[in-house]
Symmetry: C2
Subunit: 220 residues, 2 copies
DNA sequence: CGCTGTTCTGTAACTTGATCACATAACAGT
DNA sequence: ACTGTTATGTGATCAAGTTACAGAACAGCG
């Protein structure tokens, strides 16, 4: 690792600030930029922890019929607990990973990762918070899937991805279906119905004229 | 904490073996036996981590219509990551807890828990493994709920809870529905259909004569 | 420009799962 | 035996997932 890279890594992960020069010099630590659309399949083993410096990765599950559910995403400055757990628990991680944008990743070999966890309190706490955060995200996902109608879930998604100023969204029905873990046809039907009610306007690859206030009312 | 209790705790959690006498003497560490059917509601704060020495607790989510989903259970020698995360992340944990049997719990105040995590490697690794394990369990739960039919999920549940020697199970339809996060009526209907096909035999509060081999074939 | 292959959307028919509204049935305690 | 409670069965109806297409919009190219 070069001084330049180390600085860069610390900017992305303040919790790495206290790590000594010697520790950074260890073999196997590296910064790599992965190309977009690269996929890592369920069941592969990892020998390094991955800290996402910049970019987006998506964790998802695949059904045999080809349908998908997005479990969660990791953005700048995050780490992926399911991958880390693969290291700690010595088990294959049980999800697929898709690099959605070109993503700069800091790889830390399992052995070193373990040592840092013991040595550096702020690093340890950071990793813990990541785990905790994902557990909560996943339990809320289960909650949503079990108790809420897709209509409501679509509304929530639209609200999440738009603002007062920009009430339109570039997304295909297929993509939206994958996000919510349902089928494309279900999304098409529901969106169409919502369009008829004047809640949104549809065009190829885009949802525009999203009536955020009305959606907010539906969601409560 | 008395010497007796400490010994007991170490028997349940070998990873606590290296903890020093002084550390055990800290204020606030305690062993408590909680009565069965005690419930801790979503949103409450915890100031201690709970290590389950003996018994069973169930983590679950509640829908406004009264339906439930069981996220997972913690048994002897386990710790509950969602509760621990509440400590580490200083957030309310977002699930309900039900003590299913009288349960002996070792409570360790957040502050001490944090210190032990830093000091004791085997303790730290234990906690980490617990987190990793639950993440995998939850992601598999999502996978099952999204991609598998209830019939298959019922089969899997029955297989999990029975053996070659004991092919019967004491459980109500309502209970089974809660386990799988669906409605009681759905379970009743599906079980009835399975009974007609000779896969099981139903009586009040019991499923007997479970044809494990045939169920195994269905599940693959 | 028109042709062609690809991606995206719309829809009908059907199956499965969830919800609502009850009717029985089995048991527990007095 | 009577009563309240818990557990199960079932029909009707609605929401969601599946199957099976048709057609629209776009991208690239001769």
């Amino acid at each position: 690792m070069q001084t330049e890279q180390i600085k860069d890594a610390i900017t992305c992960f303040p919790c790495l600030a206290e790590i000594t020069e010697e520790d950074w010099k260890e073999n196997g630590i590296s910064v790599v930029t992965l190309p977009a659309n690269h996929i890592i399949h369920e069941g592969e083993f990892l020998e390094s922890a991955a800290l996402i410096m910049h970019g987006t990765v998506r964790m998802y599950k695949l059904g045999e019929n080809g349908r998908e559910v997005t479990l969660y995403r990791i953005h700048d400055g995050g780490c992926c607990p399911l991958m880390a757990s693969s290291i700690l628990g010595e088990t294959a991680y049980e999800a697929n990973v898709c690099i959605e944008k070109p993503t700069k990743v800091l790889f830390v070999p399992a052995r070193i990762f373990q040592r840092w966890m013991g040595t550096y309190m702020s690093f340890r706490q950071f990793i813990f918070k990541s785990f905790a955060e994902r557990l909560i995200i996943m339990s809320n996902l289960i909650d949503n899937m079990v108790f809420k109608s897709i209509r409501i879930r679509i509304c929530e998604y639209l609200l999440e991805r738009t603002t007062e100023g920009d009430n339109s969204l570039t997304i295909t029905h297929d993509h939206l279906a994958i996000e919510l873990g349902t089928a494309r046809e279900v999304i098409s039907r529901t969106l169409k119905a919502m369009e008829k009610e004047g809640l949104i306007h549809l065009s190829r690859g885009q949802i525009t004229n999203i009536q955020r206030e009305q959606l907010l009312e539906l969601v409560e």
